[in-house]
Structure formats: C-alpha cells, structure tokens
C-alpha cells in the first residue's frame, strides 16, 4: 500500500477538492491529470489494467498511450492487459475470487452489484469527476452505486438505435423512422409487402438479445422488478401489451431471427437482407469506412432512428462499461491516479470524440462539450445517451437481474409468443415464474 500520499514531507497538503477547484478556476485545463503530488509516492509501483478492445481501434490506442504517459509522469508501471471480450469477464471473476491478477478492470453493467464487496469505495472521486462534467446521468448511478456508495466509475455506454435503409423506407412510404409503436408495426407490414422486411434479434445473443427487447418492454410500461429491485412485477397488463405487439410485428420479420446471435443482424443488414434492425452504430461506422463501393453505398443509404415512444416513454438499452477498482489491489493510490488521468479534460473529451459516439461517457455536461461527431447520421446517439437504461430498470441491476439476463428469460418470453410456442399471456406467466424463482433463491 502506498502511504503518505496526501501529505508528503516538504509539501503543502493539497486536498483533491482544493486541487480540483484551483484547476477549474484556471480554465479547466487538465485539472485531474497527473497531479505532481502523487508522482514520488507512486514511483516503483505497478498497476495492471484488464481491458478488452473497444470497437474503435483508436480508442484502444489512446488507452495505451495514456498508460504510457502515466508511467512516464509518475514512475508507476502501468500495464494494459488485453483480453477477448468473453475472456475479460472470466478474468475479472478470477481476480475477484483470488485477489490476484489485476488492479483495475473494464467491467460491464452487472459487475458492480455482483462484486461490490470486493471493490474499493470511489465515492469521493465520483463526486469530483461528476462535478467536473455537469453530473452523472442516472444510468451511471444505477450501474455504479451500491448502498449509496460508488463502487465503480462509469466509462460510458454504447447505446443501440434503429439502423434503417432510407431508400427502402421511402419506397414503402416512410420518409423518416416511425415515432410510435403502431406506426412501426404499419411500416413493418409495408416493408414486408415490398420484399424488404425488418428483423430484430430474438436468439440467445448476449448483447442484441437485450437491446431489442428491453426498450419494447419499458416503452409499454412493463418492468421486471419494483424500484427496490426485490419484488417481481413482470406479470402485468403492460408486459402483456409489449409481448402482444412483438408477436404481431414478428409476422413481418425476415425468417430466422430466433436463431440470430450477435453478428447476425449486422450481417443481414450489410447484405441487404433486412431494411431495418437494432444495433449500435458499428454497422454504419464499418460501412462508412469501407473501400468496397457496395458496402459504402449501405452507409449512404442508411440512417439511425430512435426507438419509438410508447405509452410509458422512450427507452434504449445496450452495453455499459465501468472501471472496477479491485479492493485486493495493493495500489489503491495508483488506481485513483489513473482514474483521475482517465477522466481528465486533457484525455476524456478527446477520447470520446475519437470514438464517434460508439462509446459515450454518461455526463450531463457533455451535451455542451465538443465531443460529438459532425456526421449528421450519428447525431441521435446524443439523445440515446439520455434514454439508455439498464436491465432491471427502474430498479437496480441486481445479481437476480443479471441471472435472468444471462438465462435469456426476457428474450425467450418474446420468442415463445412470437413463434406461437405459447400465447402471449402464457409466455408472460412463464417468464414471471422464472423471475420469481430466481428472486426467491436470491432472497433466501
């Protein structure tokens, strides 16, 4: 453990809040980056960061560069260990179980709740950083706060939107993406009649399976749990309405969506097999960057649309990433120092802009920052940043929610009704029973 960081001999004690205030007063330039106070005490220490690759390669290079800069400035050896997406979760679980193998890691939405007792309290840091950028969005608090304490810091989210073919929608009589669920259903019928159906994932796809189901459930007012996250509320008239709508629109889907895994909707859209699907902006970014004229034409002919507004509002869902500061790390000061560098004005806005709205930090103040891509087809991700919610909404993303998600219960509820395996009401009852069993087990 590095000690004596706050009041090193021969230096005037400088609290983080004071440092923040001073830095903000002088124009906000690099207030949190590389505080000299930490340099001596961190020299010779090590910090291992576990991460996978973000979609935009430059974002990964920026993390590596930041690690190198922190190493140079502090003498702390910062090493970024990269793992494949699926392996990162296993590695995080291993560090949690053994207390070895890393100091800081990129986690996902449920990790904070799953591992709260094994994570350092970063409440003060969260307050300072939130203050810098106009406050955290609710979704960040939902992902990072357990029992009123911040146990992780939100990196950002990759919200999913409707990706649709402007030309095919126009041919079916729609010059913009439908803004109500009734309209979307009508559009799906018209597009199907034109031989250009839409399609959403109803298979066991860990990412897209959620992003295509939760927004429908929430928009109709359905919820898995009550606000305290303890009582199952899935079996409701609102959920039934959502399932009935899904079962109806499924009739006009491209066949095969119950077997779609995460890559399938991208492939179908890029191959021109579907006129619309739900995805993050990777389809567009890949097409826009392609050299193949046919692929480039997809980017020219597509746009993004928000989920329609339902009786209970407009919602979206997809990945959220958080920084997990392992309590087992012997280098808590190093963790904090790196996190300060990450959230510094010198680094974070630039990292965000480079990411082309693929990953967006969840700060209200970012609305006014120069972090958004100029491309008009990426503008709506700014809106999605506000309406993205976590599984379990309006309750917290508890381990019970994580278990339900990992078992694809919601996905299967919709799929069972869509394929006619069950009537909508039966499918809701089936899913509610699964949720009840999980909740009962977690309570006991």
């Amino acid at each position: 453990m590095i000690r004596g960081l706050k009041k090193p001999a021969g230096r005037r004690a400088l609290s983080r809040r004071r440092m923040l205030a001073v830095a903000t007063a002088v124009g906000g330039a690099a207030p949190l980056a590389f505080p000299a106070i930490a340099q001596n005490s961190l020299r010779g220490t090590k910090l291992t960061i576990l991460a996978s690759n973000w979609y935009v390669p430059e974002n990964n290079a920026q993390l590596d560069q930041l690690a190198a800069e922190v190493t140079k400035d502090t003498g702390m050896e910062v090493r970024v260990e990269r793992l494949a997406g699926g392996e990162l979760g296993t590695k995080v679980a291993s560090v949690i179980a053994t207390g070895r193998g890393g100091d800081l890691a990129v986690g996902v939405e449920f990790d904070t709740y799953l591992y709260a007792s094994k994570l350092n309290d970063v409440t003060n840091l969260a307050g300072e950083i939130g203050g810098m950028y106009g406050g955290w969005y609710e979704v960040a608090k939902a992902a990072c706060v357990v029992g009123n304490r911040w146990k992780s810091l939100c990196i950002g989210q990759a919200p999913a939107a409707w990706n649709y073919r402007v030309d095919q929608f126009a041919a079916a009589g729609y010059d913009k993406f439908p803004d109500s669920f009734d309209e979307l259903l009508k559009a799906a019928k018209a597009l199907h009649a034109k031989g250009t159906p839409i399609g959403m994932t109803l298979g066991h796809a860990s990412g897209d399976g959620r992003s295509t189901n939760y927004p429908v459930l929430w928009a109709f007012g359905g919820k898995e749990f009550s606000e305290d996250g303890k009582t199952v509320t899935l079996d409701s008239p609102q959920t039934l309405k959502a399932v009935e709508w899904y079962a109806e629109i499924y009739k006009y889907f491209i066949p095969g969506t119950t077997a779609w895994l995460d890559p399938d909707n991208n492939q179908a859209f890029l191959a021109g097999k579907v006129s619309a699907t739900v995805n993050v902006n990777t389809i567009y970014l890949a097409s826009r960057a392609a050299t193949d004229p046919a692929r480039k034409a997809i980017a020219d002919n597509m746009n993004h649309g928000l989920w329609p507004r339902g009786p209970a509002g407009r919602f979206a869902n997809y990945n959220i990433n958080v920084w997990l500061p392992f309590a087992s790390s012997p280098n808590k000061e190093g963790q904090e120092h790196f996190l300060r560098a990450w959230y510094s004005r010198k680094f974070l806005p630039n990292w965000t802009k480079t990411g082309q709205s693929y990953f967006i930090p969840t700060f209200a103040g970012f609305e006014k920052e120069d972090v958004w891509p100029a491309d008009p087809k990426l503008q709506i991700f700014r809106e999605l940043n506000k309406i993205n919610r976590l599984p379990g909404y309006s309750g917290p993303p508890t381990p019970a929610v994580a278990e339900a998600v990992s078992k694809y219960i919601l996905v299967d509820m919709f799929a069972k009704a869509c394929t006619g395996q069950m009537k909508p009401a039966q499918a809701v009852k089936w899913a509610a029973k699964e949720y009840e069993q999980i909740a009962r087990k977690r309570r006991s």
Binding site: A116, A259, W260, Q267, P399, A402, E403, D412, K433
Partner: protein, 311 residues
Amino acid sequence: MARSASTIASGGAAPRWRLADLLERERILGPVLVGPAVVLLLALVAYPFAVAIGYALSNRTLADPGEFVGLENFVYLFDNQIYLQTLRNTFVFTAGSVTIRVVLGVSLALLLNEVFPFRRLVRASVLLPWIVPTVLGTMAWLWMFNPNFSVINWALVHSGLMTQGLNWLTDPDLALFSVIVVNAWRGTPFFAITVLAALQAIPGELYDAAAIDGAGKLQRFRHITLPLILPVLLTALVLSIIWTFSDFGIVYGLTKGGPMNSTHVLATLSYQTGLAAGNIGEGAAISLTMLPALLVLIVWQLRRIRRSTVT
C-alpha cells in the same frame, strides 16, 4: 553406495537396510509405484470433485463464499422448467448423436477396411472432423446453418430439391437435430477408426473358412465381425456417451442453448448459470446432476473390463 562401501571399509557396523533391499519388498515397492498416480488422482480428480460437491451444497457466488444450503439447489432445479427442458434435451442429444455415430462409424469402418486406391489418404482424411478444433468446426457449421446465408439451403433451393430453405437453427426441433448432426459429425471418425482397428485384428482365415462353408456377407458380419469387434465397440460406445453427455463447445458455439432453450444441454446451462450469472453453487449442482447417469455407465464399463481381464 559409496557411503556404504566406505562404512564397510572402515570396519564400522553394516547398515541395517539399503534402498535396494527395501524396494525388493512388495509391501513397499507397490505403494511407491502407485503413489504418484494416487497423488495425481487425488489432486486432479478427487479434490476438484469434492470441491464441486461442496459448491453444489452452498449458495456460493463468484464474489461471495456463501453458506451451506443443503439440497436447496437441487430442489430448485427440479422445480425449474428450463432445467427440466435441458435435462430432456441432454438425453435426446446424447441418444441421437451416439446412434448416428454407431451406425455411421461402423459403416465407415467396414468401408475403410476394404482395399481401394488412396486408402491411406482417405483413412487419414476421415479423421479430420475429430482433429479440427471444436470451435473451428462449429464456426464452419454455424455459417452453413446461418439463417441468412446458409449454403445448405442455397444448395437445396438451387438444386430444385426445395423451394425454400430449412430453418436449421430457428425451429426448436430442427435446431436440436442440427446440433446432434454436428456432434455426430465430429464424433464419428473416432468411432470409425476405433472399429477399424478392431476389424484389422480379425484373422482373415476366419472369413476364408466361413466362405468355404458358404456363409454370405451378412452372415459373416453377424457371426464373425460383430462378435469380434463387440468389446471395442462397447468401449467406444461408452466413451462416446460420456463425451456427448458432457459436451459443451458445439451447442455453445452454434446456438448458446437457444432458440428458447431448445438446445440447452447440462454443460451449457451449467456454464451459463455458474459463470455467466455468477451463481457457482447452482452451476455446480447442474453439473453434478450428470453424475448418476454417467456413474451407471462407468461402473458397468469397469465391471465389464474387470471381467474380461479376469477371463
């Protein structure tokens, strides 16, 4: 030895025992020889197994060591529709795959036992599905079954056999059939090569004698080939059942248990529950429910081996 020699040379008392003398004694040599194997078995089999039982009787999660809950996990499982569906799937998956393996494996072995040009090359090629890493083979099949771009559907439609393709991984029954086919594809070469080895050990004179007696091909197979390959066939069968029953990679790679849990097998559900959801106790309990069926097979096979060794 040098020390012993010097002791003798110096006129001191001769040592009361030497290592070589000790190893002469069966009561000592036996445990010494068996010891390393026992230690390995204890460390690599018995200990993890005991730990798994401990986990299955607890509500342990990835972050929390949990506490003893008795049979609560098992009670929960046998009241859970997804688990019961998975259990049913596992038996259908195993029975379907092993049946295909036996029929195709024996047929293939009989063909490969014949004399034909490039026989060795063909024999080596037959092993490919078994040699190729599971993930790689599964990815190829995933592409062939792809709902949007299935090459099998393309061939069926363009050859005029069908007007539209099949929903290989979309329809619940067809999806289970598809994962069975891929598992059988992967496992058949092992079956075929094992049976082929047994076929080659059958003396040719037996067939010559049977031919002289006027036995036809079917009679020769029934009265000579089958009885002589039966011990090997049964061993391969038992191994195949065990491997298939606990298979993970093919189902996880193709469907992740979907659609609607129609292809979930115990290994994939155990992974999903234990690691993806972090519920280690329940995940271990799911794994352990494979034990009774496998135990019956293993005990039967061990008794059979013991009988054949004694005789």
